[in-house]
Protein backbone atom coordinates (compact mmCIF):
# COMPACT_ATOMS: atom_id res chain seq x y z
CA UNK A 1 0.00 0.00 0.00
CA UNK A 2 1.59 3.23 -1.09
CA UNK A 3 1.32 6.55 -2.80
CA UNK A 4 3.37 6.36 -5.98
CA UNK A 5 4.30 9.39 -8.02
CA UNK A 6 5.95 8.83 -11.36
CA UNK A 7 7.40 11.44 -13.70
CA UNK A 8 4.95 14.05 -12.46
CA UNK A 9 4.96 17.47 -14.10
CA UNK A 10 2.68 20.36 -13.29
CA UNK A 11 2.44 23.97 -14.45
CA UNK A 12 0.21 26.68 -13.11
CA UNK A 13 -1.67 28.84 -15.63
CA UNK A 14 -1.15 26.20 -18.29
CA UNK A 15 -2.04 27.50 -21.74
CA UNK A 16 -1.66 31.16 -20.79
CA UNK A 17 1.34 33.48 -21.13
CA UNK A 18 1.64 33.47 -17.34
CA UNK A 19 2.60 29.79 -17.25
CA UNK A 20 4.79 28.80 -14.30
CA UNK A 21 6.28 25.33 -14.18
CA UNK A 22 6.12 24.06 -10.62
CA UNK A 23 7.09 20.41 -11.09
CA UNK A 24 9.03 18.68 -13.83
CA UNK A 25 9.40 14.95 -13.92
CA UNK A 26 9.28 14.22 -10.20
CA UNK A 27 9.13 10.64 -8.96
CA UNK A 28 8.77 9.50 -5.36
CA UNK A 29 6.82 6.93 -3.42
CA UNK A 30 5.55 6.73 0.13
CA UNK A 31 4.77 3.45 1.89
CA UNK A 32 2.42 3.19 4.82
CA UNK A 33 4.26 3.49 8.11
CA UNK A 34 7.06 5.46 6.51
CA UNK A 35 8.21 9.02 7.23
CA UNK A 36 9.21 10.89 4.09
CA UNK A 37 10.38 14.49 4.16
CA UNK A 38 10.28 16.83 1.20
CA UNK A 39 12.91 19.56 1.50
CA UNK A 40 13.85 22.43 -0.79
CA UNK A 41 13.85 26.19 -1.22
CA UNK A 42 10.69 28.30 -1.24
CA UNK A 43 9.17 27.93 -4.68
CA UNK A 44 10.88 24.59 -5.36
CA UNK A 45 7.55 22.82 -5.86
CA UNK A 46 7.22 21.13 -2.46
CA UNK A 47 3.68 22.33 -1.79
CA UNK A 48 2.53 21.58 -5.33
CA UNK A 49 3.83 18.04 -4.92
CA UNK A 50 2.10 17.69 -1.55
CA UNK A 51 -1.20 18.77 -3.08
CA UNK A 52 -0.93 16.01 -5.68
CA UNK A 53 -0.67 13.41 -2.95
CA UNK A 54 -4.32 13.74 -2.03
CA UNK A 55 -5.66 14.46 -5.49
CA UNK A 56 -6.24 18.12 -4.71
CA UNK A 57 -4.28 18.70 -7.89
CA UNK A 58 -4.64 16.29 -10.79
CA UNK A 59 -1.49 15.40 -12.73
CA UNK A 60 -1.05 17.19 -16.06
CA UNK A 61 1.52 14.62 -17.07
CA UNK A 62 2.95 11.63 -15.28
CA UNK A 63 1.09 9.44 -12.80
CA UNK A 64 -0.09 9.59 -9.23
CA UNK A 65 -1.34 6.35 -7.75
CA UNK A 66 -2.91 6.08 -4.32
CA UNK A 67 -3.11 2.49 -3.07
CA UNK A 68 -3.18 1.27 -6.64
CA UNK A 69 -5.82 3.68 -7.94
CA UNK A 70 -4.63 6.21 -10.47
CA UNK A 71 -5.63 9.83 -9.94
CA UNK A 72 -7.33 11.07 -13.09
CA UNK A 73 -9.57 14.03 -13.77
CA UNK A 74 -13.19 13.21 -12.96
CA UNK A 75 -12.23 9.69 -11.96
CA UNK A 76 -14.68 7.87 -9.76
CA UNK A 77 -13.54 7.46 -6.20
CA UNK A 78 -11.48 10.66 -5.96
CA UNK A 79 -13.47 11.33 -2.82
CA UNK A 80 -12.26 8.07 -1.28
CA UNK A 81 -8.69 8.79 -2.28
CA UNK A 82 -8.88 12.15 -0.56
CA UNK A 83 -10.11 10.44 2.56
CA UNK A 84 -7.10 8.13 2.53
CA UNK A 85 -4.64 10.99 2.36
CA UNK A 86 -5.07 13.75 4.91
CA UNK A 87 -3.52 17.07 3.94
CA UNK A 88 -2.56 19.62 6.58
CA UNK A 89 -1.91 22.96 4.95
CA UNK A 90 0.58 25.62 5.99
CA UNK A 91 -0.79 27.54 8.95
CA UNK A 92 -3.89 25.30 9.06
CA UNK A 93 -5.31 27.22 12.03
CA UNK A 94 -5.96 30.15 9.72
CA UNK A 95 -8.71 28.09 8.16
CA UNK A 96 -10.63 27.49 11.35
CA UNK A 97 -14.29 28.32 10.93
CA UNK A 98 -16.14 26.59 13.77
CA UNK A 99 -17.12 27.93 17.17
CA UNK A 100 -15.53 25.13 19.15
CA UNK A 101 -12.60 22.80 18.72
CA UNK A 102 -15.07 19.91 18.81
CA UNK A 103 -17.06 21.19 15.80
CA UNK A 104 -13.82 21.90 13.98
CA UNK A 105 -12.62 18.32 14.42
CA UNK A 106 -16.07 16.82 13.76
CA UNK A 107 -16.51 18.62 10.45
CA UNK A 108 -14.97 16.03 8.12
CA UNK A 109 -16.39 12.87 9.72
CA UNK A 110 -19.80 14.58 9.92
CA UNK A 111 -19.53 15.27 6.23
CA UNK A 112 -18.70 11.63 5.59
CA UNK A 113 -21.97 10.82 7.34
CA UNK A 114 -20.95 9.97 10.88
CA UNK A 115 -23.46 10.92 13.58
CA UNK A 116 -24.17 10.60 17.29
CA UNK A 117 -21.94 8.43 19.42
CA UNK A 118 -19.82 7.30 16.48
CA UNK A 119 -19.04 10.90 15.71
CA UNK A 120 -18.28 11.71 19.35
CA UNK A 121 -15.96 8.74 19.59
CA UNK A 122 -14.20 9.73 16.38
CA UNK A 123 -13.63 13.25 17.69
CA UNK A 124 -12.43 11.97 21.06
CA UNK A 125 -10.01 9.56 19.37
CA UNK A 126 -8.59 12.24 17.12
CA UNK A 127 -8.19 14.64 20.04
CA UNK A 128 -6.41 12.03 22.12
CA UNK A 129 -4.20 11.03 19.18
CA UNK A 130 -2.87 14.60 19.02
CA UNK A 131 -2.65 14.90 22.80
CA UNK A 132 -5.36 17.53 23.00
CA UNK A 133 -6.92 17.82 26.44
CA UNK A 134 -10.61 16.80 26.20
CA UNK A 135 -11.51 19.85 28.29
CA UNK A 136 -10.28 22.07 25.45
CA UNK A 137 -12.75 20.58 22.97
CA UNK A 138 -15.44 23.02 24.02
CA UNK A 139 -13.22 26.10 23.72
CA UNK A 140 -13.16 28.48 20.83
CA UNK A 141 -10.23 27.32 18.70
CA UNK A 142 -9.01 30.90 18.31
CA UNK A 143 -8.59 31.24 22.07
CA UNK A 144 -6.07 28.37 22.15
CA UNK A 145 -2.30 28.79 22.03
CA UNK A 146 -0.45 28.36 18.74
CA UNK A 147 0.66 24.83 19.61
CA UNK A 148 -2.83 23.78 20.66
CA UNK A 149 -4.36 25.31 17.53
CA UNK A 150 -1.97 23.28 15.39
CA UNK A 151 -3.11 20.15 17.27
CA UNK A 152 -6.76 20.93 16.63
CA UNK A 153 -5.98 21.41 12.95
CA UNK A 154 -4.15 18.10 12.73
CA UNK A 155 -6.87 16.35 14.75
CA UNK A 156 -9.46 17.63 12.27
CA UNK A 157 -7.53 15.88 9.49
CA UNK A 158 -6.87 12.72 11.49
CA UNK A 159 -10.58 12.51 12.33
CA UNK A 160 -11.19 11.43 8.73
CA UNK A 161 -8.98 8.38 9.52
CA UNK A 162 -6.44 8.83 6.75
CA UNK A 163 -3.73 6.26 6.03
CA UNK A 164 -1.33 8.93 4.89
CA UNK A 165 -0.80 12.28 6.56
CA UNK A 166 0.77 14.98 4.40
CA UNK A 167 1.83 18.10 6.33
CA UNK A 168 3.02 21.28 4.67
CA UNK A 169 5.49 23.04 6.99
CA UNK A 170 3.79 21.74 10.13
CA UNK A 171 6.23 23.37 12.53
CA UNK A 172 6.23 26.87 11.00
CA UNK A 173 5.36 29.48 13.59
CA UNK A 174 5.64 27.12 16.56
CA UNK A 175 8.07 27.75 19.40
CA UNK A 176 10.71 25.25 20.51
CA UNK A 177 8.35 23.41 22.87
CA UNK A 178 5.62 23.30 20.25
CA UNK A 179 8.02 21.86 17.67
CA UNK A 180 9.27 19.17 20.06
CA UNK A 181 5.75 18.14 20.98
CA UNK A 182 4.55 18.07 17.40
CA UNK A 183 7.52 16.01 16.25
CA UNK A 184 6.86 13.54 19.04
CA UNK A 185 3.20 13.39 18.06
CA UNK A 186 4.06 12.63 14.43
CA UNK A 187 6.44 9.85 15.49
CA UNK A 188 3.62 8.28 17.49
CA UNK A 189 1.21 8.50 14.57
CA UNK A 190 3.84 6.87 12.42
CA UNK A 191 4.25 4.08 14.96
CA UNK A 192 0.51 3.49 14.72
CA UNK A 193 1.02 2.79 11.01
CA UNK A 194 0.29 6.15 9.41
CA UNK A 195 2.60 7.37 6.67
CA UNK A 196 3.98 10.83 7.43
CA UNK A 197 4.94 13.13 4.57
CA UNK A 198 6.45 16.31 5.90
CA UNK A 199 7.24 19.33 3.75
CA UNK A 200 9.87 21.30 5.60
CA UNK A 201 12.71 23.79 5.48
CA UNK A 202 14.31 22.30 8.54
CA UNK A 203 16.91 19.99 7.06
CA UNK A 204 18.34 18.97 10.44
CA UNK A 205 15.03 17.69 11.77
CA UNK A 206 14.23 16.06 8.43
CA UNK A 207 17.53 14.18 8.56
CA UNK A 208 16.89 13.17 12.17
CA UNK A 209 13.37 11.89 11.63
CA UNK A 210 12.81 10.66 8.11
CA UNK A 211 13.13 7.21 6.66
CA UNK A 212 13.68 8.90 3.33
CA UNK A 213 14.05 12.44 2.02
CA UNK A 214 13.20 13.95 -1.32
CA UNK A 215 15.28 17.02 -2.18
CA UNK A 216 13.60 19.50 -4.52
CA UNK A 217 15.19 22.30 -6.51
CA UNK A 218 13.37 24.42 -9.09
CA UNK A 219 10.59 21.87 -9.51
CA UNK A 220 12.94 18.92 -9.98
CA UNK A 221 13.53 16.10 -7.52
CA UNK A 222 17.34 16.17 -7.35
CA UNK A 223 17.76 13.17 -5.08
CA UNK A 224 15.75 10.81 -2.93
CA UNK A 225 17.10 8.48 -0.28
CA UNK A 226 17.91 7.84 3.36
CA UNK A 227 19.38 10.51 5.61
CA UNK A 228 23.01 9.36 5.22
CA UNK A 229 22.82 9.23 1.44
CA UNK A 230 21.07 12.57 1.19
CA UNK A 231 23.56 14.24 3.54
CA UNK A 232 26.44 12.84 1.48
CA UNK A 233 24.75 14.02 -1.71
CA UNK A 234 24.23 17.53 -0.37
CA UNK A 235 27.88 17.78 0.71
CA UNK A 236 28.94 16.95 -2.84
CA UNK A 237 26.21 18.90 -4.66
CA UNK A 238 25.05 22.11 -3.03
CA UNK A 239 21.31 22.62 -3.59
CA UNK A 240 19.72 26.04 -3.72
CA UNK A 241 18.13 27.13 -0.46
CA UNK A 242 19.49 24.25 1.62
CA UNK A 243 22.21 24.90 4.15
CA UNK A 244 24.10 21.87 5.46
CA UNK A 245 23.22 21.63 9.17
CA UNK A 246 26.14 22.36 11.53
CA UNK A 247 26.23 18.85 13.00
CA UNK A 248 26.50 17.31 9.53
CA UNK A 249 29.26 19.79 8.67
CA UNK A 250 31.08 18.83 11.83
CA UNK A 251 30.75 15.11 11.17
CA UNK A 252 32.00 15.64 7.62
CA UNK A 253 34.97 17.52 9.07
CA UNK A 254 35.72 14.59 11.39
CA UNK A 255 35.58 12.22 8.43
CA UNK A 256 38.04 14.40 6.57
CA UNK A 257 40.29 13.99 9.57
CA UNK A 258 40.15 10.23 9.31
CA UNK A 259 37.43 9.45 11.82
CA UNK A 260 34.77 7.00 10.75
CA UNK A 261 31.48 8.50 11.74
CA UNK A 262 27.98 8.69 10.26
CA UNK A 263 27.16 12.07 8.73
CA UNK A 264 23.80 12.21 10.44
CA UNK A 265 24.67 10.93 13.90
CA UNK A 266 23.22 12.74 16.89
CA UNK A 267 25.10 14.96 19.29
CA UNK A 268 25.97 12.08 21.66
CA UNK A 269 27.41 9.97 18.86
CA UNK A 270 29.61 12.83 17.74
CA UNK A 271 30.84 13.66 21.23
CA UNK A 272 31.54 9.99 21.94
CA UNK A 273 33.59 9.63 18.76
CA UNK A 274 35.59 12.75 19.49
CA UNK A 275 36.22 11.50 23.03
CA UNK A 276 37.41 8.10 21.76
CA UNK A 277 39.82 9.64 19.36
CA UNK A 278 40.96 12.56 21.42
CA UNK A 279 44.75 12.39 21.77
CA UNK A 280 44.89 13.54 25.34
CA UNK A 281 41.98 14.57 27.48
CA UNK A 282 42.83 18.25 27.83
CA UNK A 283 41.18 18.33 31.21
CA UNK A 284 43.92 16.34 32.87
CA UNK A 285 46.99 17.76 31.17
CA UNK A 286 46.42 21.43 30.83
CA UNK A 287 49.93 22.67 31.59
CA UNK A 288 52.76 21.60 29.32
CA UNK A 289 51.32 21.43 25.87
CA UNK A 290 48.03 19.64 26.04
CA UNK A 291 48.57 18.26 22.60
CA UNK A 292 51.97 16.64 23.01
CA UNK A 293 50.54 13.41 21.68
CA UNK A 294 48.87 14.94 18.70
CA UNK A 295 49.53 14.08 15.10
CA UNK A 296 52.22 16.73 14.84
CA UNK A 297 50.41 18.70 12.20
CA UNK A 298 50.29 21.70 14.44
CA UNK A 299 46.51 21.80 14.63
CA UNK A 300 46.51 21.82 18.40
CA UNK A 301 47.94 25.03 19.66
CA UNK A 302 47.56 25.20 23.40
Amino acid sequence: MSVVIECLSYSYNLGTPAIVTALSDVSVSVERGEWVSIVGHTGSGKSTLAQHMNALLIPQSGRVEIDGTEVKPKAKGLRDLRRKVGLVFQYPEQQFFAETAREEIAFAPHNWGLRGQDLDRRVADAASAVGLDAALLESNPFSLSGGQQRRVAIASVIAAKPDYLVLDEPTAGLDATGIRELTHLLSELKRDGLAIVQVTHDLQSALDRSDRLLVMENGVGVTVGGAEDVAAFLLRNPVRGLVIPPLVQFSAGLRARGIEIPLTGDLDTIVRKVEERSATPLKYEPANGACAASDGQGRCSS
Binding site: Y12, N13, A18, V20, G40, H41, T42, G43, Q90, Y91, Q94, S143, S145, G146, G147, E169, A172, G173, D175, A176, T177, G178, I179, H201, Q204, R240, G241, L242, V243, P245, P246, L247, F250, G253, L254, R257, G258, I259, L267, I270, V271, V274, E275, R277, S278, A279, T280, P281, L282, K283, Y284, A290, C291, A293, S294, D295, R299, C300, S301, S302
Partner: protein, 274 residues
Protein backbone atom coordinates in the same frame (compact mmCIF):
# COMPACT_ATOMS: atom_id res chain seq x y z
CA UNK B 1 22.47 57.19 24.07
CA UNK B 2 20.19 60.17 23.64
CA UNK B 3 18.14 59.03 20.75
CA UNK B 4 14.47 59.89 20.80
CA UNK B 5 12.21 57.11 21.97
CA UNK B 6 9.84 55.79 19.29
CA UNK B 7 7.89 53.51 21.59
CA UNK B 8 7.34 54.04 25.31
CA UNK B 9 5.13 51.49 27.01
CA UNK B 10 4.30 52.10 30.66
CA UNK B 11 2.60 49.38 32.65
CA UNK B 12 0.70 48.16 29.62
CA UNK B 13 -1.97 45.57 30.32
CA UNK B 14 -4.23 43.99 27.77
CA UNK B 15 -7.00 41.41 28.03
CA UNK B 16 -8.82 40.19 24.94
CA UNK B 17 -12.59 40.57 25.32
CA UNK B 18 -13.94 37.48 27.01
CA UNK B 19 -10.52 35.94 27.60
CA UNK B 20 -10.02 34.56 31.10
CA UNK B 21 -6.47 35.86 31.48
CA UNK B 22 -4.55 38.91 30.39
CA UNK B 23 -2.28 38.73 27.35
CA UNK B 24 -0.08 41.54 28.68
CA UNK B 25 0.29 42.19 32.40
CA UNK B 26 2.09 45.41 33.19
CA UNK B 27 4.68 45.62 30.46
CA UNK B 28 7.27 48.41 30.44
CA UNK B 29 9.41 48.92 27.38
CA UNK B 30 11.24 51.78 25.72
CA UNK B 31 12.52 51.52 22.15
CA UNK B 32 14.65 54.32 20.70
CA UNK B 33 14.81 55.63 17.16
CA UNK B 34 17.05 53.52 14.93
CA UNK B 35 17.18 50.53 17.26
CA UNK B 36 16.79 46.95 16.02
CA UNK B 37 15.10 45.06 18.81
CA UNK B 38 14.38 41.32 18.75
CA UNK B 39 11.34 40.37 20.84
CA UNK B 40 11.54 36.70 21.76
CA UNK B 41 9.26 34.46 23.79
CA UNK B 42 7.15 31.32 23.63
CA UNK B 43 3.84 31.00 21.76
CA UNK B 44 1.21 32.84 23.77
CA UNK B 45 3.66 35.01 25.70
CA UNK B 46 2.06 38.21 24.40
CA UNK B 47 4.48 39.19 21.64
CA UNK B 48 1.90 39.64 18.89
CA UNK B 49 -0.45 41.51 21.22
CA UNK B 50 2.42 43.85 21.99
CA UNK B 51 2.93 44.45 18.27
CA UNK B 52 -0.70 45.42 17.85
CA UNK B 53 -0.54 47.74 20.87
CA UNK B 54 2.46 49.52 19.31
CA UNK B 55 0.50 50.21 16.15
CA UNK B 56 -2.66 51.35 17.97
CA UNK B 57 -4.58 48.37 16.58
CA UNK B 58 -5.30 47.55 20.20
CA UNK B 59 -5.58 50.04 23.06
CA UNK B 60 -4.18 48.97 26.43
CA UNK B 61 -6.82 48.08 29.01
CA UNK B 62 -4.43 49.56 31.62
CA UNK B 63 -1.31 51.66 31.26
CA UNK B 64 -0.24 53.69 28.25
CA UNK B 65 1.59 53.25 25.00
CA UNK B 66 3.25 56.32 23.47
CA UNK B 67 4.42 56.29 19.88
CA UNK B 68 6.77 59.18 19.17
CA UNK B 69 5.33 60.93 22.21
CA UNK B 70 1.69 60.43 21.24
CA UNK B 71 -0.65 58.35 23.31
CA UNK B 72 -2.37 55.60 21.32
CA UNK B 73 -5.51 56.33 23.37
CA UNK B 74 -5.83 59.71 21.71
CA UNK B 75 -7.97 58.97 18.69
CA UNK B 76 -6.84 62.07 16.87
CA UNK B 77 -3.28 60.68 16.89
CA UNK B 78 -4.17 57.20 15.69
CA UNK B 79 -3.95 57.85 11.91
CA UNK B 80 -0.49 59.38 12.36
CA UNK B 81 0.63 56.53 14.57
CA UNK B 82 -0.50 53.91 12.08
CA UNK B 83 1.27 55.74 9.29
CA UNK B 84 4.46 55.93 11.32
CA UNK B 85 4.44 52.28 12.36
CA UNK B 86 4.12 49.59 9.71
CA UNK B 87 3.22 46.12 10.77
CA UNK B 88 4.18 43.03 8.77
CA UNK B 89 2.22 40.01 9.92
CA UNK B 90 3.04 36.32 10.03
CA UNK B 91 1.29 35.31 6.86
CA UNK B 92 2.01 37.53 3.86
CA UNK B 93 -1.06 36.28 2.00
CA UNK B 94 -3.22 38.03 4.55
CA UNK B 95 -1.68 41.32 3.51
CA UNK B 96 -1.65 41.10 -0.25
CA UNK B 97 -4.46 43.20 -1.70
CA UNK B 98 -3.73 43.52 -5.41
CA UNK B 99 -3.06 40.94 -8.07
CA UNK B 100 0.02 42.63 -9.56
CA UNK B 101 3.13 43.19 -7.47
CA UNK B 102 3.59 46.90 -8.14
CA UNK B 103 -0.11 47.60 -7.67
CA UNK B 104 -0.02 45.88 -4.33
CA UNK B 105 2.88 48.04 -3.19
CA UNK B 106 1.13 51.17 -4.49
CA UNK B 107 -2.04 50.45 -2.54
CA UNK B 108 -0.95 52.19 0.66
CA UNK B 109 0.47 55.36 -0.93
CA UNK B 110 -2.60 55.60 -3.19
CA UNK B 111 -4.79 55.55 -0.12
CA UNK B 112 -2.79 58.42 1.30
CA UNK B 113 -3.91 60.42 -1.74
CA UNK B 114 -0.37 61.12 -2.90
CA UNK B 115 0.31 62.50 -6.38
CA UNK B 116 1.06 59.78 -8.91
CA UNK B 117 4.72 60.65 -9.48
CA UNK B 118 5.30 60.42 -5.71
CA UNK B 119 3.57 57.04 -5.65
CA UNK B 120 5.82 55.84 -8.46
CA UNK B 121 8.95 56.96 -6.62
CA UNK B 122 7.84 55.26 -3.42
CA UNK B 123 6.92 52.03 -5.18
CA UNK B 124 10.25 51.95 -7.00
CA UNK B 125 12.20 52.48 -3.80
CA UNK B 126 10.19 49.98 -1.79
CA UNK B 127 10.55 47.28 -4.45
CA UNK B 128 14.25 47.99 -4.70
CA UNK B 129 14.74 47.73 -0.93
CA UNK B 130 12.77 44.50 -0.76
CA UNK B 131 14.72 43.04 -3.67
CA UNK B 132 11.63 42.65 -5.84
CA UNK B 133 12.39 45.15 -8.61
CA UNK B 134 12.55 42.36 -11.19
CA UNK B 135 9.14 40.98 -10.17
CA UNK B 136 7.16 44.20 -10.31
CA UNK B 137 4.86 43.14 -13.12
CA UNK B 138 4.35 39.59 -11.89
CA UNK B 139 1.14 38.36 -10.34
CA UNK B 140 1.23 38.74 -6.57
CA UNK B 141 -0.06 35.25 -6.00
CA UNK B 142 2.35 33.64 -8.44
CA UNK B 143 5.26 34.60 -6.19
CA UNK B 144 6.91 32.03 -3.96
CA UNK B 145 6.30 32.20 -0.21
CA UNK B 146 9.54 34.05 0.43
CA UNK B 147 8.83 36.57 -2.31
CA UNK B 148 5.32 37.14 -0.98
CA UNK B 149 6.86 37.90 2.39
CA UNK B 150 9.11 40.48 0.81
CA UNK B 151 6.12 41.89 -1.07
CA UNK B 152 4.39 42.43 2.27
CA UNK B 153 7.56 44.16 3.46
CA UNK B 154 7.65 46.36 0.34
CA UNK B 155 4.02 47.34 0.95
CA UNK B 156 4.95 48.40 4.47
CA UNK B 157 8.04 50.31 3.27
CA UNK B 158 6.06 52.24 0.67
CA UNK B 159 4.30 53.97 3.56
CA UNK B 160 7.74 55.33 4.55
CA UNK B 161 7.23 54.43 8.18
CA UNK B 162 9.49 55.51 11.04
CA UNK B 163 9.34 52.04 12.51
CA UNK B 164 8.74 48.56 11.22
CA UNK B 165 7.24 45.79 13.33
CA UNK B 166 7.78 42.30 11.95
CA UNK B 167 5.66 39.60 13.50
CA UNK B 168 7.32 36.25 12.72
CA UNK B 169 7.81 37.43 9.19
CA UNK B 170 10.48 34.88 8.38
CA UNK B 171 8.73 31.77 9.63
CA UNK B 172 7.71 30.63 6.17
CA UNK B 173 11.02 31.31 4.44
CA UNK B 174 13.71 28.80 3.58
CA UNK B 175 17.20 29.40 5.02
CA UNK B 176 18.32 31.31 1.94
CA UNK B 177 15.14 33.39 1.75
CA UNK B 178 15.52 34.14 5.44
CA UNK B 179 19.09 35.23 4.94
CA UNK B 180 18.13 37.60 2.12
CA UNK B 181 15.24 38.96 4.18
CA UNK B 182 17.53 39.55 7.16
CA UNK B 183 20.19 41.27 5.09
CA UNK B 184 17.41 43.46 3.70
CA UNK B 185 16.57 44.39 7.30
CA UNK B 186 20.25 45.07 7.91
CA UNK B 187 20.33 47.69 5.18
CA UNK B 188 17.08 49.25 6.41
CA UNK B 189 18.58 49.51 9.86
CA UNK B 190 21.69 51.22 8.43
CA UNK B 191 19.34 53.66 6.75
CA UNK B 192 18.00 54.57 10.21
CA UNK B 193 14.85 52.45 10.36
CA UNK B 194 13.64 51.35 13.77
CA UNK B 195 12.97 47.62 13.63
CA UNK B 196 11.02 45.55 16.13
CA UNK B 197 11.36 41.93 15.16
CA UNK B 198 9.25 39.26 16.79
CA UNK B 199 10.83 35.85 16.32
CA UNK B 200 11.16 32.31 17.62
CA UNK B 201 14.36 31.75 15.76
CA UNK B 202 17.21 32.43 18.08
CA UNK B 203 19.71 32.80 15.28
CA UNK B 204 17.77 35.82 14.03
CA UNK B 205 18.18 37.63 17.31
CA UNK B 206 21.97 37.55 16.80
CA UNK B 207 21.84 40.37 14.25
CA UNK B 208 19.77 42.73 16.40
CA UNK B 209 21.06 45.47 18.71
CA UNK B 210 19.02 44.35 21.64
CA UNK B 211 17.06 41.31 22.77
CA UNK B 212 13.92 41.59 24.90
CA UNK B 213 12.41 38.41 26.32
CA UNK B 214 8.63 38.43 26.79
CA UNK B 215 7.18 35.86 29.16
CA UNK B 216 3.55 35.67 30.34
CA UNK B 217 2.83 39.21 29.22
CA UNK B 218 5.85 40.85 30.84
CA UNK B 219 9.26 41.88 29.68
CA UNK B 220 11.53 39.66 31.77
CA UNK B 221 14.96 40.18 30.23
CA UNK B 222 16.52 42.97 28.25
CA UNK B 223 20.09 43.09 27.03
CA UNK B 224 22.54 42.62 24.18
CA UNK B 225 22.53 39.54 21.92
CA UNK B 226 25.97 38.75 23.33
CA UNK B 227 24.67 38.50 26.88
CA UNK B 228 21.57 36.70 25.69
CA UNK B 229 23.47 33.92 23.98
CA UNK B 230 26.08 34.01 26.72
CA UNK B 231 23.59 32.18 28.89
CA UNK B 232 20.44 34.19 29.54
CA UNK B 233 18.43 32.25 27.00
CA UNK B 234 18.82 28.95 28.84
CA UNK B 235 16.48 30.23 31.55
CA UNK B 236 13.50 30.51 29.22
CA UNK B 237 13.75 27.16 27.57
CA UNK B 238 14.65 28.56 24.17
CA UNK B 239 16.00 26.09 21.70
CA UNK B 240 19.76 26.12 21.63
CA UNK B 241 21.23 26.06 18.13
CA UNK B 242 22.77 22.57 17.65
CA UNK B 243 26.28 23.88 17.03
CA UNK B 244 26.13 25.76 20.34
CA UNK B 245 25.06 22.53 22.13
CA UNK B 246 27.93 20.68 20.50
CA UNK B 247 30.34 23.44 21.49
CA UNK B 248 29.24 23.42 25.12
CA UNK B 249 29.37 19.64 25.29
CA UNK B 250 32.89 19.40 23.84
CA UNK B 251 34.11 22.25 26.03
CA UNK B 252 32.67 20.78 29.21
CA UNK B 253 34.41 17.46 28.54
CA UNK B 254 37.69 19.18 28.02
CA UNK B 255 37.83 18.17 24.35
CA UNK B 256 38.27 21.72 23.15
CA UNK B 257 40.81 24.23 24.44
CA UNK B 258 39.32 27.24 26.20
CA UNK B 259 38.89 30.21 23.94
CA UNK B 260 37.84 28.21 20.87
CA UNK B 261 35.06 29.95 18.95
CA UNK B 262 31.67 28.19 18.66
CA UNK B 263 32.11 27.79 14.94
CA UNK B 264 32.22 24.44 13.17
CA UNK B 265 35.50 25.10 11.37
CA UNK B 266 37.22 26.55 14.42
CA UNK B 267 36.11 23.62 16.58
CA UNK B 268 37.37 21.07 14.08
CA UNK B 269 40.72 22.79 13.86
CA UNK B 270 41.07 22.97 17.62
CA UNK B 271 40.38 19.27 18.30
CA UNK B 272 43.31 17.09 19.28
CA UNK B 273 42.77 13.84 17.46
CA UNK B 274 44.96 10.79 17.55
Amino acid sequence: MNRKPIFSLRGVEYAYPGAPSRALCGLDLEIAEGEWVALVGANGSGKSTLAKICNALLTPTQGDCFVMGRNTRDETCVPDIRRAVSLVFQNPEDQIVASVVEEDVAFGPENLGLPSHEIRVRVDRALEMAGLASCRLKGSFSLSGGQKQRLALAGALAMQPAALILDESTSMLDPEGRQSFLSCLGSLKSAGMTIVQITHRMEEAIQSDRVVVIDSGRSVWDGTPGDFFGGAYVRWNFEEPPDVSLYRELLSRGLLPDGTLPDVGAMLDALCLS
